[in-house]
């Protein structure tokens, strides 16, 4: 990955990190979108989609509810998609991409909490102006939050890619496991998290578990026929 590719990916990470909460929450930051776009930037959209689909299974567990702390999937998925996109033929690329993306998402969640604390500090400082109805204070606080979130996403993606460029190269250079088994292990981890999330999410709804069982029968039948 060249420096200019990392810079471009960091810009993508900034835009998609912004989408998580600040603007426009159109779910461009979901892993299935973000990792695909990241892979596409490196010339391998299909590889990015592969990483995105696996990460999407993990992301089903974390709903972006208000004040709760959850992984920041936008910037994280850019990192995951970039690893698979850059090393499309390497056996362990998906495993490394998943680990990197989940770790970056975890750190990203922490940076979002810090940003909210920072926003609160600015809001406190501007409180007298806001309480007297000053337009510039209200608009200023909003735009400062937006700009800071953009910078947060950029720095997070940039630092993560700089760290994972040598790490990814080193790990994938000494990868010993078979390619299909490697993929299978990575997706087993992701799908287990996803399956548990689906169960926890829908089991409380009346009859939903029967819909799940019915869907599973259809899915397994379709899988067997393919």
């Amino acid at each position: 990955m060249t420096d200019s590719q990392i810079l471009l990916l960091a810009l993508l990470g900034a835009v998609l990190g912004l989408d998580v909460v600040s603007f426009p929450q159109a779910m461009l930051s979901r892993p299935i979108v973000a990792a695909t776009l990241s892979g596409a930037l490196l010339g391998d959209a299909t590889g990015g989609l592969l990483a995105g689909a696996a990460l999407e299974l993990v992301a089903l567990e974390t709903l972006p509810v208000g004040a709760s702390r959850y992984p920041e999937w936008g910037s994280a998925s850019v990192v995951g998609g970039a690893i698979v996109g850059y090393y499309p033929d390497r056996a362990g690329a998906l495993s490394v991409a998943l680990l990197a993306a989940i770790a970056v998402g975890w750190i990203g969640g922490w940076t979002m909490v810090e940003l909210r604390t920072l926003n609160a500090r600015w809001a406190k400082r501007l409180r007298p102006a806001i309480d007297s109805g000053e337009r510039s204070a209200v608009v200023g606080l909003q735009l400062t939050g937006l700009a800071t979130d953009f910078v947060r996403g950029f720095l997070l993606t940039w630092v993560a890619l700089l760290a994972f460029r040598p790490l990814g190269r080193a790990v994938l250079g000494v990868w010993g496991a078979d390619a299909r088994v490697s993929r299978a292990v990575a997706v087993t981890v992701a799908a287990s998290v996803g399956a548990a999330a689906v169960w926890k999410l829908f089991r409380v709804t009346e009859h939903a578990r029967w819909f799940l069982v019915g869907g599973l029968a259809l899915g397994l039948a379709a899988m067997a026929l393919r």
Partner: protein, 267 residues
């Protein structure tokens, strides 16, 4: 009997919001959470979105009525970001109808709970997982990147933007009498219907997506499906603090170390 407030409300029926202000408010709604913080939560964002309408108050922008209303609307507020559009529309109308401040504040407080919980169930626990799982199912069926992205983003945002537009419109139309409009079947029964649909799609999507990611070979796939079922069942029993995604970092790290060790042994 006609109170002062309701007669003011009757007079205000003729209030109209110019299209450019409606569009500005709709655009600002997309960044309602950009200054989300632990001090005011969504409060400043709410005031930021209502501000264009407040320019129509007597005295114009900067006038006493404008400043008092803006200050009022920037206080602590919490709601789902999409359904906050209902609050933006109805509070903008209430301010322009010059409803007494105490009444607006009570109404504003009362809106927080329902707009938060309904939005969370309808969008975060219903529409988002439904669209996400549908995209995974389509991916599992062999669709390419463009198809998957267009389907997911197109479908999700029809609901997302539609909900915001509906919220702003219904809030503005009904003002402080918005409560009956919130009893629409979509908001009351929608989450349960969506959960059932999403459960069905989840069942279809999981094996198909697994199959596509692993690649051809029924035997390995069969083993993976069984392991996923067992590990998934175990993961549902995890304590709340130990979520699956956290645990997966450890499992993947062990797997990577094992794979590196395998390479070293083979040499």
């Amino acid at each position: 009997m006609t109170t002062g407030a309701s007669s003011a409300a009757l007079e205000a029926r003729s209030i109209s919001l110019p299209v450019h202000l409606q569009l500005e408010m709709a655009f600002r709604l997309l960044m309602i959470q950009s200054a989300w913080n632990y001090e005011l939560l969504l409060g400043n964002g709410l005031g930021f979105c209502i501000e264009p309408a407040l320019r129509l108050l007597p005295g114009g922008p900067g006038g006493t009525a404008y400043r008092q209303a803006l200050a009022r609307e920037c206080q602590y507020f919490n709601a789902h970001p999409y359904l906050a559009a209902v609050a933006v529309g109805s509070l903008a109308r209430a301010e322009l109808e010059m409803i007494p401040p105490a009444k607006i504040e009570r109404f504003r407080t009362a809106l927080c709970g329902p707009l938060g919980s309904v939005g969370d169930r309808l969008v975060w626990a219903g529409w988002l997982p439904f669209c996400s799982l549908l995209a995974l199912a389509v991916y599992g069926l062999g669709a390419g990147p463009a198809t998957v992205l267009l389907l997911f983003l197109g479908l999700y945002n029809v609901g997302h933007l539609g909900l915001r537009a509906w919220g702003l419109s219904v809030g503005w139309r009904h003002g402080m009498r918005v409560a009956p409009a919130l009893a629409t079947p979509i908001l009351r029964q929608g989450p349960a219907h969506l959960a059932r649909a999403a459960a069905l799609v989840a069942g279809i999507a999981l094996p198909l997506a697994l199959g596509r990611i692993i690649g051809p070979g029924q035997r390995l796939l069969g083993v993976v499906v069984v392991i996923v079922a067992l590990m998934g069942a175990l993961a549902t029993r995890l304590p709340a603090w130990l979520q699956g995604w956290r645990l997966s970092v450890g499992v993947l790290a062990i797997w990577i170390i094992y794979s590196i060790a395998q390479h070293t042994v083979a040499r």
